[in-house]
């Protein structure tokens, strides 16, 4: 509430700064004129003739019929009936009563049922209880949170890190903390939903470039540069950002980071990098896409990731230089106005980081598994594998779409069900069809984890092949 109003105020002042002098003088005259009209003119009576009588109003109120609160949902809506998982969603997972090998949860490093992680979480639970009963500002900062933040900063070799209690809220809060009305954000078309919500909340100008197409991005940046030369006064206060993902969740592609950094310095645009899929996955030590490409992490203005995939806890974090990150402690909405992360989940994340630090071998194991699965899933008739060989979350799309999204989904769902019956857990990637800016094509998600054995992979692949040969002809 109040904070929202504050920003309106800030934006007003900002607009004031940006405006040229003649504009201000004109506006001043205009205001004086309005004041004169309102208070010193006897003839000014707005819309007297249009005014409704009470009786007319009453009739309108009687007549008005609102739409129902929600439209009815058809009984066979694909997302209505969730599959029920009994017990932990770990490597062996019981779905709808059937034990399966998990190829669907983002538990890349298999830390979800690690005893070490559980022990640390339990120790924390016995010390702090479950909830924090307050936002960070009001006695919701636990020593565990501070430890996790400094451990994350150390792990990523950045100055500072900040944690959020919900993965989705992390980038969605971080973007609007910096980018305001009037600023410009260049963003990849394949950006995930939480980025899209962050963009929307920022109310900035959004310019989409084609997925991973640096020429398209450079074209937009050039256009903007010309625009800036025309209006240098405005350009001096218009912040510009590029928002990309490390590994795209929607396409399983990696972003061309070195090229992005080159463009950053050439056009003086800041880079925000969302690494939920690549943190704890890419690079020799799991530091993500910066390590993968050998890019200096200080060249990236802000990195955000969630701790719900590789780290197998809950929450998210942003890291970077203190100059950038500290700002969120007063301006990150999901940080300021929400209860902090339960300490046991923070403790679990700390232990996961320790495991990752102690045994970087785990990342090369994951990488091997990824390329193994990538290799094995090639050339399934009717299905097309999407993604880079080192991505742990791949997509299987239909080679030939029927042209109708729901029947495509139906087909894919039958393949998933066929595999479920044979104890292989897969899932169809779910999207909100009306909400996505650029709808990814329907696909089956295949998630690789370090716990999958050669036999698991063989079995899963042969199930998928079999199902494809049955359903896709």
């Amino acid at each position: 509430m109040a904070a929202g109003q504050q920003w309106v105020l800030v934006e007003m002042v900002q607009a004031f700064y940006e405006a040229p002098a003649y504009h201000l003088i004109l506006e001043g005259i205009l205001i004086l004129w309005i004041v004169r009209l309102l208070f010193f003119s006897k003839t000014y009576k707005p819309h007297e003739t249009y005014k409704l009588t009470e009786k007319e109003k009453e009739d309108l109120i009687e007549e008005w019929q609102p739409e129902p609160l929600v439209p009815p949902v058809s009984k066979d809506h694909p997302s209505l009936n969730y599959d029920v998982v009994t017990g932990p969603p770990s490597h062996k997972i019981i779905i709808n009563g059937k034990e399966c090998t998990n190829f669907a949860s983002f538990n890349f490093l298999g830390l979800l049922d690690s005893d070490r992680v559980k022990d640390k979480a339990l120790a924390s639970l016995k010390k702090y209880g479950v909830g924090t009963c307050g936002p960070r500002g009001f006695y919701g900062t636990f020593d565990v949170h501070l430890e996790l933040e400094s451990r994350l900063a150390k792990f990523m070799r950045t100055e500072e890190a900040i944690i959020y209690s919900y993965g989705f809220a992390t980038i969605a809060s971080a973007i609007p903390a910096y980018s305001k009305r009037g600023d410009i954000i260049f963003v990849d078309e394949a950006a995930c939903f939480s980025i899209q919500k962050g963009l929307q909340a920022s109310r900035s100008f959004i310019k989409y470039f084609k997925h991973n197409d640096m020429e398209d991005l450079e074209r937009l940046l050039k256009e903007q540069e010309l625009e800036d030369q025309k209006n240098p006064r405005k350009a001096r206060v218009t912040r510009k950002f590029i928002v990309v993902e490390g590994l795209y969740i929607n396409t399983a592609d990696v972003c061309p980071l070195p090229e992005l950094v080159r463009l950053k310095y050439k056009y003086k645009v800041r880079i925000f990098l969302e690494e939920s899929m690549s943190f704890g996955v890419l690079g020799e030590h799991g530091k993500g896409v910066t390590e993968h490409f050998g890019v200096n992490i200080d060249d990236i203005d802000l990195i955000s990731a969630n701790m719900e995939n590789a780290v197998a806890s809950i929450g998210g974090f942003c890291c970077g230089r203190s100059f950038v990150i500290d700002h969120q402690r007063l301006s990150g909405q999901g940080y300021c106005f929400s209860a902090s992360l339960p300490p046991m989940l923070a403790a679990a994340a700390i232990e996961a980081l320790s495991i990752m630090e102690e045994d970087p071998e785990i990342f090369s194991v994951l990488k091997r598994r990824c390329s193994q699965v990538h290799q094995a899933l090639q050339g399934i008739p009717g299905l097309k594998l999407v993604g880079v060989p080192f991505s742990p979350a791949l997509h299987l799309q239909l080679e030939r779409s029927s042209g109708c999204r729901s029947s495509d989904l139906q087909l894919l769902r039958s393949i998933v069900d066929h595999c479920l019956d044979r104890h292989v857990a897969l899932t169809v990637a779910r999207y909100l069809e009306k909400e996505e800016r650029f709808m990814p094509p329907p696909s089956i998600r295949v998630v690789v984890t370090v716990e999958q054995t050669d036999e698991d992979i063989q079995k899963a692949v042969s199930c998928i092949r079999e199902a494809a040969s049955i359903f896709l002809r």
């Binding site: 939903f193 919500k197 989940l345």
Partner: protein
């Protein structure tokens, strides 16, 4: 901003409920069309006190809420205080600019000095020159359960709050008046903790998928059935974060061509959700039913701006207890209005669920209303349940729709199993399903503590905002200098309190906020009250000009007053 909040409680004016029944509109000529008559003239009453008088027929018990007006002198001095701070701020910025005063603020990288500045200078002026002076009152790290007493990590600063160092010592047993631990379920022992331990053993802490894909655990389903039963609604859905419950579930419910009527003091998450939905948003004065009714009537009569098409739907968004004001929503009147004007009602019970009502079921229970009259019952598990997350309850069609369209269900990782278990255990205790009276006892204790604490503060002569039954107790400080002083003096006396100023409150209405808990014993409350009174005298905070209820000698005498 100050203007709007200064006049936010204008409906102190008595206005009588009109005698017409619900069907009066059809009786042809009707003299008065409003459910709640507008006061003839908006006049600023000296005592902004809301009693049940206006529409008392809707209330089953007295509704007593007061917001004593800021004394004029105090207001003037407060503005002067900000004036002086601002002048000093400019002066010190000047000194910093010429490197006469050392500046600790983090700097942009050398390589990026020629980028457009990431922050406008005035954005940080407030932080640098006002907030930084009293920053030690926030984010105080704790190292124990956030229960009735809490251990703080001692920290010191050698550069006027720019950085803190931990001394390695612990400030033990600080009485915690800050955490939202209304029913005292922030515990590391007992039934809830044991159950959460079991669940951690069985499930681990993460889920690593969304509800819709493969993260729908049996424990989530169990939780949702329990929540629905607790609320008395057909169905419910739980989410991993209270903030996101609002910001990710309002957008699927309303959109272009819909109107959201939002209380001016609604929480940031509700505001964000409303914005993301793309609906038109109009704001009514805090808890002011005349203002709400006027907006409703005008909206329906005039339709959408410019096109004048009728609105698709109208959603009223209110909270149960307002966390900064301590006020309780006038729910009976809101429901009367929503029925009369066919609007839908979204009720955020973040602070009221568990904390209000004879059965702890929130404002609906408090007023003895039917939960079916509220279309969307939202709340969080962060407060009374000592867990994390949020829920939405309502009719089955609503929840079915959300299961397919909620942003949270499709894109966000589901709730951690031990957290879900904590909610299940604590909710069962509140409902008495654990076979004990623990829940009932806590509810009674909370309500007694609230009444006692509020009454004592009033008697001492502080200006206390809010409803007599609200466990959120704001104590007005007004002046910026007193924010820091109050927080520090209280900590010296081993009491942890929350102090808030702009931007969380209007600029002149800085305040301290206490959250009463069922875990507080009478001794703790008395210790706290004694300290508050002492600090109140020291800082001259006893602003109230109301005649006080006869003050009683000593502390021992009153102990018995509320015991039953």
């Amino acid at each position: 901003m100050t203007e709007s909040s200064g006049s936010k409680l204008l409906n102190g004016e008595a206005c009588q409920r009109t005698l017409r029944g619900k069907n009066a509109g059809k009786n042809g000529f009707v003299k008065n069309h409003c459910v709640f008559e507008h006061p003839r003239k908006y006049r600023r009453p000296t005592e902004r006190s809301q009693n049940a008088a206006p529409n008392s027929s809707l209330y089953k018990k007295p509704f007593s809420e007061s917001f004593e007006e800021t004394p004029l002198l105090v207001a003037v001095l407060t503005y002067m205080g900000y004036g002086i701070l601002t002048i000093f701020g400019y002066f010190r910025d000047f000194l910093r600019h010429w490197n006469i005063e050392k500046c600790h603020i983090a700097h942009e990288r050398e390589q990026q000095k020629d980028f457009v500045p990431l922050y406008q200078d005035f954005e940080n002026f407030y932080t640098r020159n006002l907030y930084m002076r009293i920053r030690d009152n926030w984010n105080r790290p704790i190292c124990s359960v956030p229960g009735a007493k809490v251990d703080l990590v001692e920290r010191v600063t050698h550069n006027y709050n720019w950085t803190f160092e931990h001394t390695g010592k612990v400030v033990k047993d600080v009485i915690n008046m800050g955490s939202y631990n209304y029913l005292g379920f922030a515990e590391n022992t007992g039934a809830c903790a044991s159950a959460a331990i079991e669940t951690t053993h069985a499930y681990g802490v993460g889920v690593a998928s969304t509800r819709c894909e493969i993260g729908n655990l049996d424990i989530h389903e169990e939780l949702e059935q329990l929540v629905a039963r607790f609320l008395g609604v057909e169905s419910s859905m739980a989410f991993g974060m209270g903030f996101a419950t609002n910001s990710m579930n309002i957008p699927p419910l309303t959109g272009k061509g819909c109107l959201i009527l939002s209380d001016e003091l609604n929480h940031a998450s509700l505001v964000l959700g409303a914005r993301l939905s793309g609906s038109t948003i109009r704001v009514f004065k805090h808890n002011n039913m005349q203002s709400l009714e006027k907006l409703l009537r005008d909206a329906i009569a005039h339709g959408q701006p410019r096109t004048h098409r009728p609105w698709k739907k109208i959603l009223i968004v209110v909270e149960g207890i307002y966390s900064m004001e301590g006020s309780i929503v006038r729910l009976p009147e809101v429901i009367a209005l929503k029925k009369r004007y066919k609007a839908y009602l979204y009720l955020d019970e973040a602070h009221s669920i568990g904390a209000l009502g004879p059965n702890g079921r929130g404002v609906v229970d408090y007023f003895g209303l039917d939960p079916k009259d509220v279309d969307i019952m939202m709340g969080t598990f962060t407060k009374s349940f000592g867990a994390a997350g949020g829920y939405i309850g309502g009719r089955k069609e609503l929840i079915d729709y959300l299961r397919c369209h909620s942003h949270s269900a499709l894109y966000a990782t589901s709730m951690s199993p031990p957290v879900a278990q904590q909610i299940i255990s604590s909710m069962k205790i509140i409902m008495g399903e654990d076979g004990s009276t623990l829940g009932k006892d806590r509810l009674r204790q909370l309500s007694e503590n609230t009444t006692y604490f509020r009454r004592k503060l009033r008697e001492m002569g502080f200006i206390i905002y809010g409803n007599d039954d609200s466990p959120v107790v704001p104590l007005m400080l007004y002046m910026p200098a007193k924010i820091g002083a109050f927080g520090r003096e209280m900590l010296k006396r081993n009491i942890g309190t929350v102090v808030v100023g702009f931007p969380a409150t209007p600029i002149i209405e800085s305040r301290a906020r206490f959250c009463v808990s069922a875990a507080h014993t009478r001794e703790m409350l008395d210790t706290a009250l004694r300290a508050i009174s002492e600090v109140g005298d020291l800082l001259q905070l006893k602003y109230s000009r109301r005649e006080r209820p006869l003050s009683t000698p000593g502390w021992t005498y009153e102990e018995s007053l509320l015991q039953d």
